[in-house]
Amino acid sequence: MTPHPSAENAGWPRIRTAGFDGFLVSFADHLSEPANRAALAFRDAIGRAGWAGVEETSTSLVSTYLRFDPLWSDHAQMQAALEGLLGDQDWFTAKLPTGRRFWRVPTVFGTDMAPQLEEASKAAGMSPEEAITSISGTRVRVQTIGFAPGMPYLGELAEDWNIPRQTALTSQVPAGGLCVALRQLVLFPVATPTGWRQIGQTGFRLFRPDSDKPFVLSPGDEVLFEPTTPEKLHAMKEDADGGAVSEVIS
């Protein structure tokens, strides 16, 4: 990704309320790597600050979310605390989290396992073959975990992949399904309805509730989706990793 000039960040970060009991601190209104790093680092900082009344925090792609008890602390007080912490440093220059891993995940592109490859390729102005080369050749980063347990949003793909979600929901994409929209990939931990188009299928289990590491991927991890065949994927179906291998990023 190209570095963003500082003018890019003018007007950001921005604080908004989210529902009755939340605040959202956004560092951009579009996907940007510095804003993603800023959101992760700001969430860590809230955790370290240990404010009373805070019940939970998380990050989305470019924002940090905070849930608190408005009957315990009030909105004005919490907003002032957030503003104060934002002023502490330039969050856009924050480093990525430590202990990141690089995963290679065997993936069946297209076939009846991933029926929307053709449609998605067309939206991106490519043939299905070009689409497979483009996606499987891009080492993508976990920008956030969200939507479903352990589910990564991965990016960023080439500009051609800035395609919208479909208007109607696909009623069910299976667990391990790889879907695309908005220069991003998502990988589903459980079968789910979605507006994203399914282009691939993996055997990678992202949520393992009975394991001592229930959530496999973390923000900052990197992933390469490597083409495989339905037969090979089927042969690995007993493996929770679905043939995926990982190493620490040093």
Partner: protein, 343 residues
């Protein structure tokens, strides 16, 4: 053998629920827990126990259950036709389910989610810090015939109590606050949203319910290119075709469809309980008003135990004495429940 509720027959939407598991939002796991949290609190008030204990949530219909030992039960939430060994029992009340007795709970007569709370609570293993089943996440499973659901220790014996619940089973006005994406909608669309009558669609589950507007769907310029952002229960998401979808306890944690507002926790049970076809309207309130509404609601929940009353009413309080069987009414604690006039 430990005390257990034995399941002989069960509907397809019966799950163990508690207040859910907050704290996993950053890992993509929503809080979950009972769709109608107030019903759990009411059940706990009727049994004089902590509302954090796990109960059975019954979507649409219940089942047939047997007590392995004497146990106390409370029935709350969506009103379902219930009987113990063939004798109809009052909903929104606590009862004794004696050893060997059969409790039969039929389809909902009003509302969507009924609750069966048990004295001592359901004593099941926790997953990630809670007992609640999270169907969307594949965490735990539905209750099935043949299950023996163990109960925790219960130090109390009082039953035959009732509670008049806050009305919430047939739709009505739902209050919401503006949220992070409300500004994506024009003032005219917001105004139209507040004056439109909606009907709850037949499509709905623990993740959320679709609500159908009279007239056109709602549009934003942001459309389908909005960056995925955090979602919380109560958010009203406008899907691609302009139809609102209200997110409930098992909702996803992020989403890309724009959200027009966020429903107050106090009004979320009303949306969860609305049956298909029920009429819903929306009204925006300020954040300051929302805090006051929630404060009053929390105080009311704390006071619920003081609203619990014996099933036998004082004859002086009964307006129409003629319609009650006074003789059986004053003779024994549970007799009056058998009279349909109480239901």
């Amino acid at each position: 053998m430990s005390r257990a509720l034995i399941v002989h027959r069960v509907g397809p939407g019966v799950t163990v629920q508690d207040h859910g598991r907050p704290g996993y939002l950053a890992f993509g796991l929503s809080r979950g827990g009972a769709a109608d949290q107030l019903a759990l609190i009411e059940g706990a008030a009727l049994l004089g126990q902590d509302s954090s204990l796990a109960a059975l949530e019954m979507a649409g219909t219940g089942g047939e259950f047997e007590a392995s030992e004497d146990m106390r039960i409370a029935l709350t939430g969506a009103v379902m036709r219930a009987n113990i060994d063939g004798t109809r029992v009052r909903w929104d009340a606590s009862h004794l389910l004696a050893k060997g007795s059969r409790l039969t709970i039929g389809p909902a007569e009003a509302g969507s989610f009924g609750y069966l709370s048990l004295g001592g609570g359901l004593d099941l293993p926790e997953h990630l810090g809670a007992k609640s089943v999270h169907l969307a996440a594949g965490l735990g499973a539905r209750v099935k015939a043949g299950d023996h659901l163990p109960l925790g220790a219960d130090g109390r014996h009082d039953t035959g109590l009732k509670l008049d619940p806050d009305p919430r089973l047939d739709g009505g006005t739902i209050r919401l606050v503006p949220s992070l994406q409300t500004e994506f909608f024009s003032t005219a669309e917001i105004a139209r949203f507040e004056t439109t009558e909606f009907h709850r669609d037949s499509r709905g589950n623990r993740m959320g319910v679709r609500i159908l507007p009279q007239g056109e769907g709602f549009q934003t310029e942001a459309g389908l290119m909005v960056l995925s952002e955090v979602i919380v229960p109560g958010d009203v998401q406008i899907t691609g075709d302009g139809t609102p979808f209200v997110l409930l306890s098992e909702c996803q944690t992020t989403g890309g469809y724009p959200r027009i507002g966020s429903i107050l926790p106090a009004d979320q049970p009303k949306v969860a309980q609305a049956t298909p076809g029920a009429v819903l309207r929306f009204q925006f309130v300020t954040l300051a008003d929302a805090v006051e509404i929630e404060r009053r609601e929390r105080d009311r929940c704390k006071m619920l135990r003081s609203r619990v009353q014996p099933l036998i009413r004082n004859p002086h309080d009964i307006a129409d004495l003629i319609s009650f069987q006074l003789i059986s009414g004053v003779s024994a604690g549970d007799d009056l429940e058998r009279d349909e006039t109480w239901l």
